[in-house]
């Protein structure tokens, strides 16, 4: 009997929760704020769905309602991707400076 591909995705999901659990506990408490901003940035990988929504099935009409939702979602996710990674970079750079002073 063939296994439904859903089960594979579910396995990836469950194992990732465990990875997340152990990786996040190893994050030093002083970096919890950068942790939040970087998780913010990476969760915006949802932009993948937005791009598919915007580009697919346009059959001449690039402004169908589903594409429009896609475009808006792209803009929202892009704010998060750029904003999230850059602000994390900015914070982490401050932690770096100390190292040099020493």
């Amino acid at each position: 009997m063939e296994i439904d591909p859903f089960i594979f995705r579910l396995s990836i999901f469950i194992l990732s929760i465990f990875i997340g659990y152990y990786v996040v506990w190893s994050v030093t408490p002083s970096l919890h704020t950068p942790l939040m901003s970087v998780t913010n940035a990476i969760s915006s990988v949802i932009i993948v769905g937005a791009i598919i929504a915007a580009l697919a099935s346009n059959e001449g009409n690039i402004f169908s309602s589903s594409s429009l939702f896609g475009y808006f979602a792209i803009a929202l996710a892009a704010i998060n991707i750029f904003g999230g990674f850059l602000v994390t970079q900015r914070m982490l750079a401050m932690y770096k400076k100390k190292k040099k002073d020493k």
Binding site: F6, R9, I12, F13, S16, I17, I19, G20, Y21, V23, V24, W25, S26, V27, T28, P29, S30, H32, T33, P34, L35, M36, S37, V38, T39, N40, S43, S44, V45, I46, I47, V48, G49, A50, I51, I52, A53, A54, L55, A56, N58, S66, A73, I74, A75, A77, A78, I79, N80, F82, G83, G84, F85, L86, Q89, M94, K97, K98, K99, K102
Partner: protein
Amino acid sequence: MSANLSAVFYLISGVLFILALRGLSSPETSRQGNLFGIIGMIIAITVTFLSVGNFSNGFLYVFIFLIIGGAIGSFIAFKIPMTAMPELVAGFHSLVGLAAVFVAISAFINPEAFNLGSPGKIKLASLIEMSIGGAVGAITFSGSIIAFLKLQGVMSGAPITFKGQHLLNALILISIFVLTYLLCASQSSNLFWILIGISFLIGFLIIIPIGGADMPVVISMLNSYSGWAAAGIGFTLENTALIITGALVGSSGAILSYIMCKGMNRSFFNVILGGFGATEQSTSNQNKEQRPVKSGNADDAAFLMKNASSVIIVPGYGMAVAQAQHALREMVDTLKKNDIKVSYAIHPVAGRMPGHMNVLLAEANVPYDEVFELEEINNDFANADVAFVIGANDVTNPVAKTDPQSPIYGMPVLDVEKCKSVLFVKRSLSPGYAGIDNDLFYKENTLMLFADAKKMTEDITKNL
């Protein structure tokens, strides 16, 4: 690009995201971690473009929206002051939530684009997944908006409660499940819109009763929700990168909420059900008898510190409000020149989000190896000469250890009172967030410095 090849690349970007979080285990590896995250994101976006393979006019618009969003995001990232990080993160969460809602809507009205069947005949599993993704996204969006407004001070930080609140919330939550079931049975688009609508409503209702002091928990919780929303959409799109990321972010937020709750000795449900500030008022009024306090000036404080051999600084959010972190660093520099050992003690819930105080100190050029967490430094107070409490209050209150009646009883606190002498910078004797009197004010060895934190710190530096 073949589906298998793109799946492999999505897996690679998922692994890079894991490494991005892993890098945060120490400040040295953290910047490299962030770079992994950026590379992972670039791979995911590029692969999506290649696998869709549609470079028509629509592609141009995708690019324009990407640039617009990117420009806004970059602008915010460079402009935002570090004190406003909690608001920023809350705002960003709302965007992830809304993006998830938009993708879910798009998948519902045009399922062919995602290989999910045709309108009215969407595969059952996909329909469940997009309902979950959309609903959790909507809750994240409206909840984060409320959190953002409360943090910004646009909305009062006081809990907003009304009669039958919990009953109403419970009914709405049940109706979300019922609607999802009906939606799957009927594929009706009206039900889908209602489902999204009431999810926005419940997000709003869940957050309004939670007080300003609990915002660190709320932000972490919404962080977690934004992850689960992404994972839900990831299942719909059958996309590994999204599933892995969603699970990572979901568990990350959940762990941070747990750490924050533990820092306040409160159960998660106690925070979520809200009304913390409301119950405390009655207890604070009872113990309002006048007790003598010793107060001093900058000169006294400078004298005490000059004769000390070790000083522990206990900063709190009040320091950030007074913008005293740079003045504080200058004071510490002067102390260090006099061969006085200085360290910083940080309570888990100092500041308004997890790790907020560390970032604020880092911004003021405080070396991170002088900054310690509660468990690391709590035993050192007994051996230190001076504790300098600046802008913190409830987290130093010994009542948490001595008085079982107190609302903060059992909360881990910094053992500041064990120091030979305590300098407490505060504008008045008014109670802190928890609304209770701090016993530390009235201790023999406490010297109150009534002044603005920044001004007092500058004055002490002059007197040193």
